[in-house]
Symmetry: C2
Subunit: 112 residues, 2 copies
């Protein structure tokens, strides 16, 4: 019997399964060090709502938060995302081959 | 204000956030067309438990199920996984650069 605990990969994929959280990562990539209120603004989210999303991203290790005085600067963190990419890329060959095969089948079908 | 509906990407990452479901995808990559009971066996899962996981993978478009008589053959499906890979790869440059920079810092630190 295969047994699993909640893994880093579970937390990473779970954190990525929300459009607001993915959009936060995209914004942080372009503008590192944004504050929580700057991150909340485009979503019309109140601070507690954004803080909850940041908690999920932080638990997954995808961001770091650094407090200076009363401001929290948020930055991306690299390692967990790389683990997720590595997991998916192991299967990329399958997905690529499948789509190539599909393209060949469609072409063959068109020639008949 | 940015508004989002539940997207394909949400469903894909959410489906990937479970170790049993990831293991099912790995097994199907190596052995396409396994039946539901063959998939359930290594996890000591009952059929309804495995069926629930397969429902999630199927809703995310990651697998197809084909019924022949009383047997259901399960196969991988490529497109949604490719979308997830594409999303992550857009950020790969950031993660790679960050880790390279970290390696340089560690090296510099070791030289002092």
């Amino acid at each position: 019997m295969a047994k699993y605990a909640v893994s880093d990969l579970d937390r990473t994929f779970s954190a990525l399964a929300d459009p607001t959280r993915r959009a936060v990562l995209v914004r942080l990539k372009n503008k590192p060090g944004l504050s929580v209120s700057e991150l909340a603004r485009p979503f019309s989210l109140k601070l507690p709502g954004m803080t909850k999303h940041l908690d999920v991203l932080s638990d997954a290790g995808l961001i770091t938060r650094t407090k200076t005085g009363r401001t929290v600067a948020v930055n991306l963190s690299a390692a967990p995302m790389r683990e997720a990419i590595a997991w998916l890329n192991r299967y990329e060959r399958f997905w690529t081959v499948s789509l190539d095969r599909l393209a060949v089948l469609v072409e063959e079908d068109g020639e008949q």
